[in-house]
Symmetry: C2
Subunit: 335 residues, 2 copies
């Protein structure tokens, strides 16, 4: 089998990033990490979907502004989201004139976007490549589960889709953090059919990609400050550790999950944790990238996870295939 891991001889640099969020994300433990907060779930538009688009529009603009970049500096924008036909993205960024590549990776969108942005810059095809994504609690609930007005009960395994977005830009040259390597995920389907238990569906995909990275590189979990998954939540994080235990891979000591970080599980009623493309993206862009830039963190693996289901096929009784893409981020460029 071919190696899915690429280690960059000349690691590209993340030159800017921005995180935007909603009211609940502001009230969470990392509320201070957001560059912009929107208290209105409609974002002053008249529908939740148009609101979600604003998250991406804002994240891109903030990321540009923070690095004094102009729209014309960006060679390509890579983006996607959870909504049908990725309209959070396309309507969010249509006002910009960037060359645009749409991606779909469910909640692993930011790791796929960052991975591709890194390859396109490292390969010499872009001087500055941007990645963006978002999610919105109200759009996701009515699309994947029930309209909010229905007032459906959420089981304990359910996660809370973050109303958040993140954008970043990658350049062949620049300061820390650096993208040292990436592993492209493979689709894993262990037969989970419960759309209210995404953590269980996604944990095997995260484990598969993490194990493959360590096999391909000969590195060990202890080489990293943290292994950061996207939104496995309580259920999926427990499963990930157990999968590691079985094969002697310690994924307990330094594992973090953005879904368990973004909200305060005691005070905020989110059941098994946060989720959504915007969860991992905003924690990466608002917290981890600044920590790596400052040198407070040296090395992390960013491993966002995506459940590749749709309501249509779920209603047809199908199980949930999942995927997880991995990005090795470092405060050092390497030799």
């Amino acid at each position: 089998m071919q190696k899915a891991t690429t280690i960059f001889p000349n690691p590209p640099s993340i030159v800017t990033s921005a995180a935007v969020g909603g009211k609940m994300e502001h009230e969470g433990p990392y509320g201070g990490c957001f560059d912009k907060i929107n208290d209105d779930p409609y974002f002053t538009t008249d529908t939740f979907e148009k609101g979600e688009s604003q998250l991406q529009k804002q994240a891109v603009r903030m990321a540009l502004e923070k690095a004094n970049l102009k729209e014309d500096d960006i060679d390509v924008l890579i983006g996607g989201d959870l909504l049908d036909q990725c309209v959070g993205t396309t309507y969010g960024v249509r006002g910009y004139s960037f060359p645009f590549l749409g991606i779909y990776a469910a909640c692993s969108t930011m790791s796929e976007g960052l991975l591709l942005a890194s390859m396109l810059t490292a390969g010499g095809f872009a001087g500055l490549a941007m990645a963006v994504t978002s999610s919105h609690f109200c759009t996701a609930e009515r699309q994947y589960r029930m309209p909010l007005n229905y007032g459906g009960q959420r089981p304990p395994t359910a996660q809370w889709t973050a109303t958040a977005g993140g954008a970043l830009a990658v350049s062949p040259e620049g300061k820390a953090p650096y993208v040292r390597g990436v592993t492209i995920g493979r689709i894993v389907d262990m037969g989970i059919t419960d759309a209210n238990n995404m953590g269980a569906a996604m944990a095997p995909a995260a484990y598969s990609t993490i194990r493959e990275f360590f096999e391909d590189t000969g590195m060990r979990p202890a080489d990293f400050d943290h292994i950061v998954t996207g939104d496995l939540g309580k259920v999926g994080s427990r499963l990930l550790a157990q999968l590691g235990d079985k094969e002697g891979l310690d994924l307990r000591s330094n594992h973090l999950d953005c879904g368990l970080m973004i909200y305060d599980s005691d005070k905020q009623d989110v059941h098994a944790g946060g989720s959504g493309c915007g969860c991992a993206a905003s924690m990466l862009c608002g917290h981890f990238i600044p920590e790596l830039r400052s040198g407070r963190l040296k090395n992390i693996l960013f491993v966002a996870t995506g459940a590749l289901l749709s309501p249509t096929v779920s209603q047809q009784g199908e199980s949930i295939p999942s995927i997880s893409h991995l990005v090795w981020l470092s405060s050092e460029r390497g030799k």
Copy 2:
């Protein structure tokens, strides 16, 4: 503004391609170009969506078989489709163990997939990169417009979503055809709101990308045997030519549109032509790539077009943003 066009100094090669289709595609003028025909719209499954997945599964398998490739030879598969959350792709290819990158570009999916596969191989990140996509009349109608059982009337501007799929593999080394260059499209939204007139919505995006390629390269339409758009159909093709006329760019002499090729408009009741990711993909994989391989065609521009709407935002009164990615294919590798 940055150039969206990349010309490859060492053009990658398309080493295999396969096209699969349904009954109506078989009855069309290019029916003999398909590697596999499925007369059953359910593809022996119990739902149209599961049926569409079979198109991608088959296209990938046929493309591998035609070049005596094994699954392990593929370093990355890039795929997407029109269905919510791209389930035609994810459920179609989950049985393969390829590293997988999901993309969303509506009916321009094959040009985005081929563009990315070319960059990843030319950049040294993959030895063999595969791209796949599909569309299915019955899944698209019930998702974008009306369930078939409703028996809705289709206006003359409506197009017929092809039940078809295509897959191809790109390598840094190999025989013709070669991918000489690509142009990443920009999102264009001219305010069209009629979801039954996709051709009109997409023509400006196709024109924008084609014009940008000629500006970036200094080449002219006459340098190509054909400029091949994806699925502009009758309405969009007319508009494209008119947009060219306005700026003195001759897009009449050698323009072809896959949507006008795949069906016989006199005998098959398809109104303004074919459409769908599978339309352009199957014409490329089943007809144009073999023609370039044999040398009967020397140079074409493959310019698939995508309408980036969703039913949700259409119902909210939104207009239709569109995109078009361009790939220059040649029987010659260049100097």
